[in-house]
């Protein structure tokens, strides 16, 4: 059984269109088990009930941005080892460096192609 069949991923983005783009790309990669949340708080609530292997989250979100979500995940023992990919529209060294310090696994620049997303995910979890 390939990894793409068993891996569970959560997409976190407040904009329904960009969330849709992320989920569509995952679908094209053959990943079936995809959950989503519209902001960091909802993501944390959903993850507590249904853990996933990997979170792909937008950076720019109201209330709780992607890095704060990452921090919250890493601070909770139950979610500390969930993979985390940050999606960002801005090429900002500070964001990347902060993410790195907080333990993000990879980051994806917007706009992205499905192939770029595949490479980004595979760098974290291995061949899909």
């Amino acid at each position: 059984m390939a990894l793409r069949d068993s891996i569970r991923i959560m997409v976190v983005d407040d904009m329904s269109t960009s969330r849709g783009l992320l989920m569509q790309a995952l679908d094209e990669l053959g990943i079936r088990q995809v959950d989503y949340a519209a902001d960091g708080r909802e993501a944390l609530t959903k993850l507590a009930a249904n853990p996933v292997h990997l979170v792909i989250s937008d950076y720019n979100m109201p209330q709780m941005d992607g890095l704060h979500l990452l921090k919250a995940l890493r601070e909770n023992r139950a979610t500390s080892r969930i993979g985390f990919i940050l999606v960002t529209g801005r090429a900002d060294r500070e964001i990347v460096e902060t993410g790195q310090r907080l333990g993000m696994n990879n980051f994806l620049r917007k706009p992205f192609s499905t192939q770029q997303m595949r490479a980004c995910i595979q760098a974290v979890v291995g061949a899909l």
């Binding site: 990894l3 292997h53 993979g83 801005r90 900002d92 595979q122 979890v125 291995g126």
Partner: protein
């Protein structure tokens, strides 16, 4: 880390100092630029000033400050290493940068950390130009492929549904691994934390004895680790030893999902490898440079794999039938000390209020056998149970401290050229965490002393019919509500003649003073006393046993010494189990209620009129059975109005085993009191160690008998008292319990 507010304050204070040093340094650079001689110390100092500001700013997440300091530092680094030489123009630029740095620090102090400050950006450009580097690219315009050096991190898969993977690890340390302070066992322990680990030694590289290099490592290790964590977690364990060892990690395919217990305990092939091995070499290439080896989370098996029992922790081995889907119940949780202390404080308040309620009930005439009375009784019992249990949280086994002492003894023996062995006993004895922490230093000193001064060298020992290796025993036991720690050596014992002559030499005692053996031993605790004729490398350092004694007293402990010639010396330290409560005697003194620690009181006396003898205008003694004891008027010590009636005398013994009779008016009660620090609220008061709140809500001071006595009896008077006592007791009392050295 975000840093506590007080550290933030320190940071900005330090910034001020560093900026001042920077400005001083820049002035020198300016002089240098106009032809003055270069001071080699200046450039490194300037660089460090800016570097330190950058370091602190990084810790507080002040990114704008960090980036500016970084640009600044780069130029200074070039100057420091002579890649740039100071010109008047450069000096001016540095001054401007120094001013900007000052502004940025000030802004950061006010909560401003603006990364887009145009002036700062412009200056950073100039600094970059000066250091010959292209200005830092503005990220918003940077190419889309810019990855800022980010290296993707493989996912350590340990989520529900993943099954353990078995890794085979070949680990061949070089000798440099040991030289850099690494210990393979520590690595194995870290691996063991990831999952069951089997360790095998390979000695195949061991050469013939003739060609063996004594400090080369010939031992290789073959490890088998079963873990749900990814390769990342394993590589992380080896991060620090990269380049110091050959490491090869092979992941086998998923373990069989069902496996009877004991089926793999020999750790041999399970017939599945060969087909699906992933190998990652972490030898020279950085591990992150290659894609992380995937450990696919397999579909959740109905029954998770049973792991090899050989390396399982005992808890699981004892219960192999436990459903593995539930993680093994952890026996401990980690709790912030702050929370525990908060709890202890709250319990302290609870105890106080319980005492208040008890008093109110009594005042209201509630009968103890009434419903309320009986209910209160249960409440009281529960309170003391809660208190005991909460205190127990802070209690920790003394073992780690003892283990460190073994090392102290080894090192001390190595330096002094003696052979010594430490035997420990009672390592499971539990003591308050703070007490343990604050015991470390005095105990270290005591053990060094024991090796350095207590033990003889091997030849002397053999000549005296002892084994060449000196034995030092360190033990901990509970004794009447306290913990007693004893350090005993089997050395020569205290050389009393020498101690005495040194004490005379240093003017600590009168040459004519007649001292008992015990009194001579006590001289060791006198401030400034040190028997080492020259300050030895080991226990010298100007720290004497008086410092040790004070450190022990500060944690509510007492120390005493006993020695037998030729047989050795024993130091006993008696410590309270906790620093939060104290069993005390409530006394009345000139209308005040005060508390005396019960542990200090040997007995209470009701003197008869003829028992007390005046030996001077302010001094009197009381005869207690065979000995004569000075009477201390506590009312006078604390400057209370009037004298205490002296109807009751409390016989106390100090750490030096000196006895005194404290005169008080009455004894009110005996009870456990919650210690409230006084110094935090007021200041240190001589003779008072702390305060407590009584059942009626009043505050009572807790007396430190030893200090109170020392306030009352200055040394010359004590000597007079001793002389008088000696006269009073005539020749029938060879062991007057008085010390003429106090």
């Amino acid at each position: 880390m975000s840093g506590a507010p007080d550290i933030r304050t320190t940071f900005f204070q330090e910034c001020d100092e560093l900026l001042e040093a920077l400005n001083d340094g820049l002035t020198s650079v300016q002089d240098q630029a106009s032809g003055a001689d270069a001071d080699p110390e200046v450039m490194p100092a300037i660089f460090r000033a800016v570097h330190s500001i950058k370091g602190g700013a990084g810790a507080f997440g002040l990114n704008a400050l960090v980036r500016f300091a970084h640009a600044f530092e780069t130029v200074l680094d070039h100057l420091r290493s002579d890649r740039l030489s100071p010109t008047p123009e450069l000096a001016t630029l540095l001054f401007r940068a120094g001013d900007k740095l000052t502004d940025l620090v000030t802004a950061a102090r006010d909560g401003q950390d603006d990364p887009d400050d145009p002036a700062a950006k412009a200056l950073m450009g100039e600094l970059a130009a000066a250091s010959g580097a292209p200005p830092e690219s503005d990220e918003d315009e940077a190419g889309g492929d810019e990855d800022f050096g980010f290296v993707p991190m493989g996912l350590p898969v340990n989520l529900p549904g993943s099954s353990p993977t078995r890794y085979r690890i070949a680990f061949s340390p070089s000798r440099r691994l040991y030289a850099n302070g690494h210990d393979p066992l520590v690595l194995f322990e870290a691996l063991g934390a990831l999952g069951p680990l089997e360790v095998a030694v390979e000695t195949g590289r061991l050469p013939d004895l003739g060609t063996l290099e004594p400090d080369e490592n010939y031992i290789d290790w073959r490890l088998t680790l079963e873990t749900e964590q990814g390769l990342d977690a394993i590589e992380e364990v080896f991060e620090f030893v990269e380049g110091l060892a050959e490491i090869e990690i092979c992941a086998e395919d998923d373990l069989p999902e069902e496996e009877p217990d004991g089926g793999t305990d020999d750790g041999t092939d399970d017939g599945q490898d060969g087909g699906g091995e992933d190998t990652a070499k972490v030898d020279d290439a950085p591990p992150a440079a290659q894609p992380a080896t995937p450990v696919p989370p397999a579909a959740a098996p109905a029954q998770p794999a049973a792991a090899s029992p050989a390396a399982r922790p005992p808890a699981s081995a004892a219960a192999p039938a436990a459903p593995a889907s539930a993680p093994p119940a952890s026996a401990t949780i980690r709790v912030d000390l702050e929370r525990v202390d908060g709890l202890i404080n709250a319990v302290g308040e609870l105890v106080i209020h319980q005492a208040m309620i008890a008093q109110k009930l009594t005042e209201a005439g509630v009968a103890w056998n009434s419903d309320i009375g009986a209910g209160f009784d249960v409440f009281r019992n529960l309170t003391s149970e809660i208190q005991e249990r909460v205190m127990a949280i802070r209690a920790q086994p003394i073992k780690p401290l003892f283990q460190r002492m073994a090392r102290i003894v080894r090192e001390a023996a190595a330096i002094s050229g003696k052979t010594a062995q430490l035997r420990t006993e009672g390592e499971g004895t539990e003591v308050d965490k703070t007490v343990i922490e604050r015991l470390a230093e005095p105990l270290t000193h005591i053990l060094r002393n024991a090796v350095d001064h207590g033990l003889e060298n091997a030849e002397t020992r053999v000549a005296a019919g002892k084994k060449p290796t000196g034995l030092i025993s360190l033990s901990a036991t509970y004794r009447s509500g306290r913990v007693v720690i004893e350090v005993a050596d089997d050395g020569a014992g205290i050389n009393r003649e020498r101690v005495r002559s040194i004490a005379v030499e240093r003017g600590l005692i009168d040459p004519a003073a007649e001292l008992s053996e015990g009194e001579i031993d006590k001289l060791l605790f006198m401030p400034g006393f040190s028997t080492a004729s020259e300050v030895s490398d080991l226990s010298g350092r100007g720290v004497g046993m008086d410092v040790v004694k004070r450190a022990i007293q500060q944690i509510g402990g007492r120390i005493s010494i006993h020695s037998a010639a030729g047989k050795g010396t024993t130091l006993s330290i008696s410590l309270p189990l906790t620093l939060a409560v104290l069993d005390g005697i409530l006394i009345e003194l000139c209308g005040e209620t005060m508390v005396i620690p019960i542990t200090a009181v040997i007995e209470t006396l009701r003197p008869q009129p003829g028992d007390i003898h005046a030996i001077g205008p302010e001094q009197s003694v009381v005869k207690v059975r065979d000995t004569v004891v000075p009477v201390v008027d506590l009312g006078q010590v604390f400057g209370l109005s009037g004298k205490s009636s002296g109807e009751i005398l409390l016989l106390v013994e100090t750490e030096n085993r000196d006895r005194y009779a404290l005169a008080v008016d009455a004894i009110r009660d005996q009870s456990q009191v919650v210690i409230k620090g006084l110094e935090g609220n007021y200041r240190h008061v001589a003779g008072i160690s702390a305060a407590t709140i009584l059942g009626d809500g009043r505050i009572a001071l807790i007396i430190d008998p030893e200090e109170a006595v020392s306030q009352a009896v200055p040394p010359p008077l004590a000597a007079a008292a001793a002389a008088a006592a000696a006269a009073a007791t005539a020749s029938s009392q060879p062991q007057a319990a008085l010390s003429s050295v106090r």
